[in-house]
């Protein structure tokens, strides 16, 4: 595997992502919704809500917003990078060049991963500027940490999208699969659903903790919330249990777990791409 080839392909993918409608739509939606949250929070302060609490609420809402939108961004980026080429009938031409399938896939993931990082970075910048303009005090360190964790979630879901797209016959099939996957990830990561499972179905917290490590969206949510609001109210019973078990190592462990998740999904994508029988 040649790093130079991966970088060439990543450069092409980066430019393609920046020119793609989905990139601007999701990035713009994240920034606009975040700014909307800030605007609502700015209305709380004159009503007597302490500034720090208003900022914390915005951050918490931003975590929930990212938990919804980032997986959709990541899955879309990952699924279209191979299935889109296949749809446009350009994959065969690319495979006919002196590059390996691994180089193609890793180059595409690197380019898209960087584009996702740029999109999230841009949305974070808009959020910070909006907070300044509306005089809502956002904890900058926590905001940056949440954005960083959001990028790790984007990478994990992008790799999952690539695994879905690598074996899909075309973009439509890949998009169908990614929508189902997105719904599953978001629903299974829902904190209230987990609380309900514990209370009503007597599912032990260990099992729910295992569910946390299976679902990257939940990993992101628990890690992001644990950064600044380690309370039962927002962390949920499973998150609280995880915090009790792992203590201060919870966030690094969950961040590392997101990276492991990404690596595993990339390996699955590589395997599926290597074994896909036809290029076009």
């Amino acid at each position: 595997m040649r790093g130079r080839m991966i970088l060439i392909l990543a450069g092409r993918e980066w430019r393609a992502a920046l020119a793609a409608r989905w990139f601007w739509f999701y990035g713009g939606a994240t920034a606009a919704l975040g700014a909307g949250l800030l605007w609502m929070a700015s209305g709380m302060i004159p009503a007597g809500v302490p500034e720090s609490l208003a900022g914390g609420r915005v951050l918490m809402a931003t975590v929930n917003l990212l938990a919804l939108l980032v997986p959709l961004m990541g899955l879309t980026a990952g699924a279209q990078c191979l299935a889109g080429e296949r749809d446009r009938r350009t994959l065969g031409y690319l495979l006919a060049q002196p590059v390996t399938r691994s180089e193609i896939l890793l180059g595409k993931l690197l380019g898209n991963g960087l584009a996702l990082g740029a999109g999230l970075g841009g949305a974070t910048l808009v959020l910070a500027l909006a907070a300044l303009a509306l005089a809502v005090p956002l904890p900058v360190t926590a905001l940056l940490a949440v954005a960083g964790l959001g990028w790790l979630l984007a990478l994990a879901t992008m790799a999952l999208g690539a695994a879905l797209g690598a074996g899909a016959p075309g973009l439509v099939a890949a998009q169908g699969a990614l929508l189902v996957t997105w719904l599953l990830l978001v629903l299974l990561g829902d904190l209230s659903l987990m609380g309900l499972l514990m209370a009503k179905q007597h599912v032990p917290p260990q099992a729910l903790l295992a569910l946390t490590f299976i679902n990257p969206v939940h990993q992101f949510r628990v890690a992001a919330v644990a950064l600044f609001r380690p309370s039962m109210e927002v962390l949920g019973p499973v998150g609280l249990y995880a915090r009790e078990r792992l203590g201060g190592a919870l966030v690094p462990v969950l961040a590392a777990s997101l990276l492991v998740w990404t690596t595993g999904a990339v390996l699955v994508a590589l395997e599926r791409f290597q074994n896909s029988r036809s290029a076009s």
Binding site: R12, P98, A279
Partner: protein, 273 residues
Amino acid sequence: MFGPRAALQDLSLAVPAGQSLALWGPNGAGKSTTFHAMLGLVPYQGTIRIFGEDARSVKARRMVGWAPQDLAPPDMTVGRAVRFLAELREAPVASVGAFLEPFGLAAETALPVAALSGGQRKRLSLALALLGDPQVLLLDEPTANLDPAGRTQMLDLLSGLRARGKTLFLASHRLGDVRRLCDQVALLCDGVVNRVCAAGRFGALQRRFLAPRSFMGLGTAVDWPERRCGSVASASESGLFGTRTRAVAGACSGGGEGEGKGEGKGGSSCGDG
């Protein structure tokens, strides 16, 4: 293979360096599939070697330039496409305009590939295939859908490549192109299972198997003379250019008996010559 179906079977060819071979056959005969196999794009059983290298290796692909029948437009400008592919082939192009000049595309570098006309796209396809100066060129219907002037220009370009000692593989329906560019011809039969029907020098093939009028008069039914099948390895019923050709199955020496005369249905009963 296309799913459980074999698109090609018993394909055996050896083309010396610097020679040119035409893959000749009706639509669906497997000409493009042969190219896809040579590029490692479709799975196959057996061996394909390009200058001794496995066709599926990166090293082999570096020696091959492919001009597909219909270049799917990448989402980029002509200039960007040239630079990108040149980087992939590790053959940087100093000036895209100068590189595209012989192909009449120097003024189109800023245009999206999708905005090019069919003829321009054909020329771009050839230009891209030549990046990195590959020794082998796979040309899939290079003159299809070109107007007479564009066709002449393309044939001149390809003749120049042939004169420079490139090994050419040409898939074409056009007899004039084949006659002008190729040393050898391999016939592919139509049908579920395709086989190489004949390979030999084109002139000899023409003299042996087809009345001269059959090359000119499309739609004429032609019976392949059974006693002149010296170089035919195996053959089956096939439709070329709207004509109906019938060939004997099984090799026989010149003037020998037509053995195992076959009128294979769907090309699946090619004889084992």
